[in-house]
Amino acid sequence: MSVKIEASEGGRPHNEILGFGLIGSLVCIYLTYLNVLTGTEIFSFFGGLGAVIALAWGSDTIKHLCSYGLGTGVPSAGMIAFGSGVIAMLFATKFGIAAPVAALVIAALLGAVIGYVSDKVVSMNIPVMVISLIELAIVGALTMMGLAAMAGGSFMFADLVAGSTTVFGIEIASYGSSVIGGSVLAVIFILGSIAVQHPFNACLGPGEQQDRTLMLAAECGFLSMIGVAVISFAFIGFGSAVVALLVSIIGWAYTYMEYIKLSRRDAYDWLDAKPIHEPKGGA
């Protein structure tokens, strides 16, 4: 049996963050569909914002789950989240416009089976195991889908496997230069799983505060977004990719400064050590 240890006092209840994360990330991923409606690629960055919201929710879920003591370290939860999430997300892309909702449903089913296996067959006996792994699988699937939509401008399978390359000045269709065919998903996978497992792993311990952990989650999410924005130069128009890169950098800079402020607030003391200046003309 497992004993629950409260990770932190106060903060918003987990269900509130669950609701906000689920609806927020779904809405943001659907906003990338404006690309199709308006015939541009400028709205791709909404996929990344959806991923950031899902990552913040995922960090809170990991905190909820790990307060029972998994015995395997926090990163394992992030790995199983994205391992099951990527499977659900790839199948869901086949459902066209319904893809984000399909990702949610398929990931929930996969998460339920894996949660049941972990809780009962492997005898972890943690009360929140099943619901947490369902949430984490959905987080993994929505994050992957958001970042893939950001890189490729669409969350549909037909668009994600289609790419074009230029040979001797002639543009030809090539599956190898698409988001899936170019194995960009592998990079997105690891960018997302690091972002979901790091925040609670870094902030846990006595004095852990929910707002600080979630701010770090958003910061990690925007950091992953910067990477995906750079990748997106290969798949979407130059202007749209620049917009995505600017949004990511501004978001990252803001959340990073806020995180430092919160860390200063929670720290016992703070010494602003200046770098050691070399004397002029060498030592």
């Binding site: 790990c66 998994l70 015995g71 395997t72 499977i87 089913l109 894996i114 311990g205």
Partner: protein, 277 residues
């Protein structure tokens, strides 16, 4: 080790009700695959289940030390199960994937050698750091005598620790675990690759050569996903640290085999549905 403390789950023995429910879920997944994709798809799923079971079983051999090992207070490699399994499994997957064109046997051997080699190198450098960097001898805390070399441990074990360093039996366990993990991961990858190479040309209305990048990346990312799911389920079964095949916790492996089979069946069904529907 848990970061926040708290009681570890686990214990010995299997939960009969849950095992039967799980096996029924596995059979439903197999039946569903047979209905949508016919016999060939069902055989692919059987291959995926075998691969997943090999991964789940292999993880139990790997000497995982966690944070206590980093401080020289427990034997094993100083990181978590998920990281070690991912390292060995992905190295094996890369080892096997390049040989996919040379047929099943060569590719599987490549995967096993890749995973085993990765763990052999990791274990060697872990011992170099332990012995020459931290100045600690290798001593197991779970057994008094190394089952292979016959070295005795109690005289070398520091008081207050559960042993330290990486004894020879743990090294051997690590290599076996890496080989099994690499073999399982490569088997999952190859099964999916052959299925996608067969089905994708009709689905995307393109030649087999054109869709090869899509088939390779889809199979690769699905294999990575399934590998991590199976490795983490095995990690939950071990609950933290294990010294290798001589550790009493090793006897828990039947639970992980059942768990990995169920999870692989359901994940494999979804991976097959992407081309079958």
């Amino acid at each position: 080790m848990s970061a926040l403390g708290g009681g570890a789950g686990g214990g010995e023995g299997m939960n009969p009700t849950a095992t039967i429910v799980g096996l029924v879920i596995m059979l439903i997944a197999l039946a569903a695959t047979f209905v949508v994709g016919g016999m060939s798809a069902a055989l692919v799923l059987v291959g995926i289940i075998i691969g997943g079971v090999l991964v789940g079983f292999g993880v139990h051999f790997v000497p995982v030390g966690g944070a206590p090992a980093a401080m020289g207070q427990a034997p094993g490699i100083a990181t978590g199960v998920a990281m070690l399994a991912a390292g060995a499994g992905l190295a094996g997957l890369f080892g096997g994937a390049w040989a996919a064109e040379l047929g099943l046997a060569v590719a599987l051997a490549g995967g096993a050698v890749g995973g085993g080699l990765m763990m052999a190198i990791t274990c060697m450098f872990v011992n170099i750091v332990y012995v020459f960097g931290m100045g600690i001898p290798s001593a197991s805390g779970k057994v008094d005598k190394d089952p292979i070399t016959g070295d005795t441990f109690p005289a070398y074990k520091s008081q207050g620790t559960e042993g330290h360093g990486l004894p020879f039996i743990s090294y051997v366990g690590g290599v076996i675990g890496g080989a099994l993990g690499g073999l399982g991961g490569t088997l999952i990858y190859l099964q999916l690759l052959f299925l996608y190479e067969e089905m994708l040309p009709a689905m995307l209305n393109a030649s087999a050569e054109e869709i090869l990048p899509v088939a390779v990346s889809l199979a690769g990312i699905f294999a990575i996903g399934m590998f991590l799911v199976n490795a983490v389920i095995a990690a939950y079964n071990i609950t933290g640290t294990i010294e290798g095949p001589h550790d009493p916790k090793f006897k828990r492996f039947p639970r992980a085999i059942v768990g990995a089979a169920i999870a692989s069946a359901v994940c494999g069904l979804v991976a097959i549905l992407i081309v079958a529907v």
